[in-house]
Structure formats: C-alpha cells, structure tokens
Symmetry: C2
Subunit: 220 residues, 2 copies
C-alpha cells in the first residue's frame, strides 16, 4: 500500500508517518519510484504499535526505540517483553536524599510487596511510584493504614488479572505489546474516573440528604 | 503565631504564604505592628487545606476559591461539600463534535452508571473522564468488554468505600475536604502503581519462564 493508505488505515497523519520514518521508528518501505514507496501489513502493525506507545501511553521516542528492539528480539519471552513495555511508560522516580518520610514509605512498600508475594523485579519503576504516593501521605501526616494498602492491592490485583486476560499468547508480539500498553494506560484512566464516580455515590449514600439519592451533587 | 511559625508548622514557605494572602486564599492575620501580623490555629487549618488543594491535588487557584467558599457556607452539607472539592480537581472534558466513537462511549458510560444505580450528578466531570477513556479504546478498535467495565467498577467502588471510611463527619469541614482531596489524589497514584506491580506479578505467573518466579522483570 502507499503511504496515504497506511495513513488512512492507521489513523496516523502522513506527516507523522514521515517523522517516524526519519526517526527510524518505522522501517522504510520498498521504493517503487523516485518519490513513492510501498508499505506492507507489517508496516501497519508496527505503526499502530508506535502510535499506541507515543500517543496513548505517552512514551518518549527514545524509550519507544527500546520497546521496538525488544519486540524484534525473538529470544525475549512474552513476560519480559511486557515488562520492557510497562517499564518504558512508567516514569522513573528519584528518591530524595535523607528524607525520613521517603525511607518509611520505601520500607512499607517493600514490606507490602513481600507480604503479598508478588513477583516484581527489583528495578520496577512502579515501586518508586508507589513509594512516592505513600511518602506524600506520610509527609502530610495522613499515612494510609496497612489494611487500606492491602485492600487497594487486592483490588489492583483483581484488575491486573482481567488485564492479562486480554493478552493472547498466540497473537503477534507487536499486537500484545500494543494491547498491553493501550489497555494499561486507558483502563488506568477509566479506573480513576470510576473511583471518583464511586466516591460520589458512596458519599451520597453516607452523607447525602435523604436516603433516596436526592443529594447527588449537582442536583441540589 | 507569627508567619514564620505558620510556615514551620504547615511546611509552606513564607513566600508562598504571602502569595496566598495576596490572592485572598488565606485571610489576613491580626496586625500587631506595622510589619507583623499574628495568625491563629484557624489560619493554619486553612493553609493546610489550600496547600493540599494546590500542591497535592493540583487544583488551579481560581477553583480553590470556589472550594473555600463552599467550606465557609455552613448550609452546604458534607456530601455537597465533598462534591465541590472533587469536581474542582477533576478537569472538565470537552466532547468532540460528530464523533461516533465518543457517542458510543458516552452511551456505554451512561448505561453502566444506570445499571450500577450509582448516585452521580449529571454534571460530574468524572463522567467525561470515563467517556474519554472508553472512546479512546473504541477508536483503537479495542473497546473494553461490558464485563471488564463492571469488574473495574466493582473494584473502584470497594476502594471508594475505604476512602469514605477516612471521612469523619465530626471533624471540621476544612479537615474533611483536605482529607478527601489528599487521599483521593494520592491513593489514586498508589492504586495506579499497585496495578502496574500486580500486572507484572500476574504476567510472571502466566507467561514467565518457570513457576518459581525466576522470570520477574529485571532478574533475567
């Protein structure tokens, strides 16, 4: 197919495709004339993956390259490949020096993961992400209870099981990585929205005026 | 107390306190000399709330004012007050015109909330947040199944119940709003991190090499 069809089928503008070609995120097509190249289904698959990483999961281009390299190495197994993709779109956290709240949060995070017996690599950037959230609550004098963290962890694991149900080991590596990052990023936004909606519902049930739901926000 | 002590006890720099005073987010202290003012525990409480809104929940100053006004109106009940705070830190979503994916997502979102019988106001910005995430998945040709959305909703509601357990109707209005926005914003980050960690664990269990966890990312 020509670049125009590649654009139409992927939903990526031609200018963006040309940019990805220049940045070597997409292999060049086969030249059919001085100004035209022919692209294949493989290009389309790769383009969809780059788009999912760049636009949906907001992975910086430099890290997209690392994900594509892992996709192209067949000796990297599916679990490791999904890990490379997930690590690429979780920004690293810098640990502040000499911060007792941070150290306490780091200890609590490590203890929680050990207690749960989750198989998480020592370099997982989500460890830092969790530590940062807990440290911020420590700093405000409102640390989450161990029970609350355990409850949230159980809910998160249930969600992760549904997430992994969407990964088909028989599908192509590109498709699996695309599925994993897309779902991870977008269902995270959905989960955040659902929690806010549920907070509003639960607040109405507990603190709203009347038991008939008339106290819903925006209806007062 | 003097402004220096207010700064020390709140953890907010003096320059920031002066900025909040100029912006009328904090009432002026009682002047004790031409250059000094005296502040009370009420100032400290208000300052902690402004800080939680501005720094933790990243609420823009213009919307912080609306939250403070609601805090100061005693005829606004706790449920409505929590709603004002939550709406203030959920950015509004603009619906694109003539977008069939958006319309489908909006319909699915409304149907889900109706089925769940959640008490959510028609103007809740989290509706738009959920619609946006579902529409993005529709656009990519990977819409979440109804079963997945229901599962996520159940997990979100469980989290929201724990969240509401942290609200003490006997506490001051400032404290409750501060607690609600702090916990909502920070436990959201914690939940996001826990889900990524759980995905890594679940991926290791399903796709990792060996059943002994040796396939955890970063240990290969």
């Amino acid at each position: 197919m020509r670049i125009s069809e590649l654009s139409r089928r992927s939903g990526v503008p031609v200018a963006t495709i040309k940019y990805y070609l220049r940045e070597n995120l997409l292999p060049k097509g086969e030249a059919v004339s001085a100004t035209q190249a022919e692209y294949t289904e493989e290009h389309l698959k790769r383009l969809r993956l780059v788009r999912a990483l760049a636009e949906v999961a907001e992975v910086p281009l430099s890290r997209i390259r690392a994900v594509l390299e892992a996709v192209d190495k067949p000796d990297i197994d599916l679990h490791t490949l999904l890990g490379v993709a997930q690590y690429a779109f979780t920004p690293p956290t810098e640990a502040p020096a000499d911060d007792p709240d941070w150290e306490r949060a780091q200890r609590r995070t490590a203890e929680l993961l050990a207690e749960l017996e989750w198989r998480v690599g020592p370099g997982s950037p989500a460890r830092g992400q969790l530590t940062r959230a807990v440290a911020a609550m420590e700093r405000l004098g409102r640390p989450p209870s161990a029970q609350m963290l355990r409850g949230y962890a159980a809910a998160a694991h249930q969600a992760a099981e549904w997430d992994m149900d969407c990964i088909d080991p028989g599908a192509s590596r590109e498709e699996n990585v695309q599925q994993a990052v897309t779902m991870s990023a977008l269902m995270e936004q959905a989960l955040s929205a659902l929690r806010r909606l549920a907070q509003e519902d639960e607040s109405a049930r507990r603190f709203g005026c009347g038991a008939d739901g008339a106290g819903a926000h925006g209806e007062g």
